[in-house]
């Protein structure tokens, strides 16, 4: 059975209003401390909740930590996991490094692309999933491997994709 919420086209999820974002930033800054050393944990906290760093979030962080917003953006844009573009609720990262390539990561990517009807680098229209390729994820002996958010799927086979992704709907 297909999970209809998961594959519906219209979705109002992943829209955050300004006040919520500012509140989240305030909470994170209180938790991690008001110094520059807390910048990464704060950025990571926003990404965890909102899946990417909006301009609103980065400006709020800059204000809270007394930095320029350019400085916050400059730091965030350095890190692959600190997305500054809107992303889906669930981020799929398939390892593309040589050993996973040798063990069939391409078939895994194709299975995901067929299932979600998106290409590598794209987000589904309902903002549920984003598909990305990643450098070595540290599971070379059990390739191909994929991460969905923080969850690891070693030895992943193309025919398992539908079941795995359904769990995130």
């Amino acid at each position: 059975m297909k999970n209809y919420i998961c594959y519906s086209i219209n979705n109002t999820l992943n829209q955050f209003n300004m006040a919520d974002t500012e509140k989240l930033v305030e909470q994170l800054v209180t938790q991690h401390g008001k110094t520059r050393n807390s910048l990464l944990p704060v950025l990571q906290g926003v990404v965890r909740e909102e899946h990417f760093l909006s301009d609103t979030a980065m400006i709020a962080i800059a204000k809270a930590l007394n930095l320029s917003s350019a400085d916050v953006y400059g730091t965030a844009s350095f890190y692959t996991f600190l997305e500054t573009e809107p992303r889906g609720e669930n981020i799929i990262r398939v390892c593309k490094t040589i050993t996973c390539k040798m063990k069939g990561k391409q078939q895994v990517i194709e299975a995901i692309e067929n299932h979600l009807k998106i290409k590598e680098g794209e987000t589904t229209r309902n903002k549920k999933f984003t598909l990305l390729a990643a450098n070595c994820l540290g599971w070379c002996h059990k390739g191909p491997v994929m991460l969905v958010n923080d969850d690891v799927y070693p030895h992943v086979a193309p025919d398992q994709i539908v079941d795995i992704l359904d769990k995130y709907c």
Binding site: L40, T75, F81, G143
Partner: protein, 388 residues
């Protein structure tokens, strides 16, 4: 040079006769000088890949006078083909923590931090619990030291120690100039010992079993054993702890699939060893030092694809701060593709090797400097595959 026979060792994952907190207690009974000199005498070298003598690092930090010192565990394992640190932190985290505590005692530090790569965030819930428990145990035995954990965000370069400090200080992970070295001015500008996960476990094991027993394993230049991450065309993919100083031929006999064409020792930034050099190449500091990544390729694999994959990796992960690395990595990809397509003469490969030599001299950190290793070893040994 005579090589050692392949010998399996079990220091890291074996927990019999080793209660991590007891090992810390044992260290506390020694003087700080004795702890440092034991590690120096053991000949232990860093297991992250660079191979700096661990004991000397501890000594430099111990000799610094400062109000705050840090012990950092580098768990930003990102080298392609390496996965042993994840396994160590998953299976024996207490041994890592006891290594950190022993170091803290030796150098006089109160704060320890584990920098865990973002890709390993799934370890966090379990690890946080174990850290809390360990911190409690430390305060019970009277050592004023506590460990916390920080997550990375998907940048290979942050495994470079000074880039890691920059990242922890909330900046782009761009390596600093050295000197000053971390033992003088590291995290927050304070004296810092930064060790790889596996190195920290070995320091605890040396304190536990004694210097002599550790020194009995390995060779003059490469004391002890090493955890290898074996992957690629092998029926025995996984983690194997072996005595240092064996040659690639013996390694391939044990782990190869009978058709091994080449072994990449040390990941993308390491060296590629072709079949004809298996016998004479020793795995260890007298031959090819390695962080433990061993990727095995059989004769069905195209070494052009392997090289191209490594180059793309470097081009993506270069922090872009210094020109030789930023431009060099991109030009190398362009160059090998041009030669492959026949748009450039094969002699152009020699010019590209020269470019990697320039990068070795002129790049600021290990990333740009080590591109030459895989590039020249693959291009020299598999030249025909680069051209046809």
């Amino acid at each position: 040079m005579k090589s050692k026979k392949l010998q399996r060792v079990d220091f890291i994952f074996d927990c019999a006769g080793c209660e991590p907190i007891e090992v810390v207690k044992k260290a506390l009974k020694m003087s700080r000088e004795e702890v440092v000199s034991s590690i120096i005498e053991s000949g232990l070298k860093g297991r992250g890949g660079a191979g700096f003598p661990t004991g000397m690092k501890w000594k430099f930090a111990k000799d610094e006078v400062a109000d705050t010192k840090y012990v950092i565990c580098n768990a930003d394992e990102g080298e392609p083909g390496t996965f042993k640190d994840r396994e160590i932190l998953d299976v024996v985290p207490n041994k890592v923590l006891s290594g950190m505590a022993i170091c803290a005692y030796a150098i006089g530090s109160k704060e320890g931090i584990i920098y865990l790569r973002g890709e390993y965030n799934f370890l966090l819930p379990k690890l946080n619990g174990q850290i809390d428990e360990f911190n409690n145990n430390l305060s019970k035995i009277g050592l004023d030291f506590a460990v916390s954990i920080r997550s990375g965000s998907g940048a290979y370069i942050c495994g470079e120690e000074t880039a890691l400090f920059e990242s922890m200080e909330g900046r782009r992970g761009e390596p600093r100039n050295k000197p000053p070295f971390p033992t003088k001015s590291g995290y927050n500008g304070k004296p810092t010992v930064i060790n790889n996960v596996e190195t920290l476990v070995y320091t605890a094991m040396i304190i536990n079993m004694g210097v002599e027993e550790f020194k009995a394993v390995g060779t003059m230049d490469s004391r002890g054993s090493k955890v290898f991450s074996v992957s690629g065309d092998t029926p025995k993919a996984g983690i194997h702890e072996l005595e240092l100083g064996l040659n690639v031929a013996d390694f391939v006999e044990e782990f190869g699939d009978g058709d091994t064409k080449a072994v990449q020792v040390g990941g993308a930034s390491g060296h590629c060893v072709p079949r004809k050099l298996f016998k004479e190449t020793i795995i260890g500091f007298e031959g090819i030092p390695t962080g433990g990544s061993m990727m095995i390729f059989n004769s069905t694999r195209s070494m052009f694809n392997v090289l191209n994959d490594y180059l793309e990796f470097f081009a993506e992960e270069s922090c872009g701060q210094c020109t030789p690395c930023r431009i060099g990595t991109q030009q190398l990809i362009k160059g090998v593709e041009q030669v492959k397509r026949g748009e450039m003469q094969s002699e152009y490969l020699d010019q590209l090797i020269k470019l990697t030599e320039t990068m070795k001299i002129a790049s600021k950190c290990g990333l740009g400097q080590s591109v030459a290793n895989s590039f020249s070893s693959i291009v020299t040994n598999f030249r025909e595959e680069m051209i046809y």
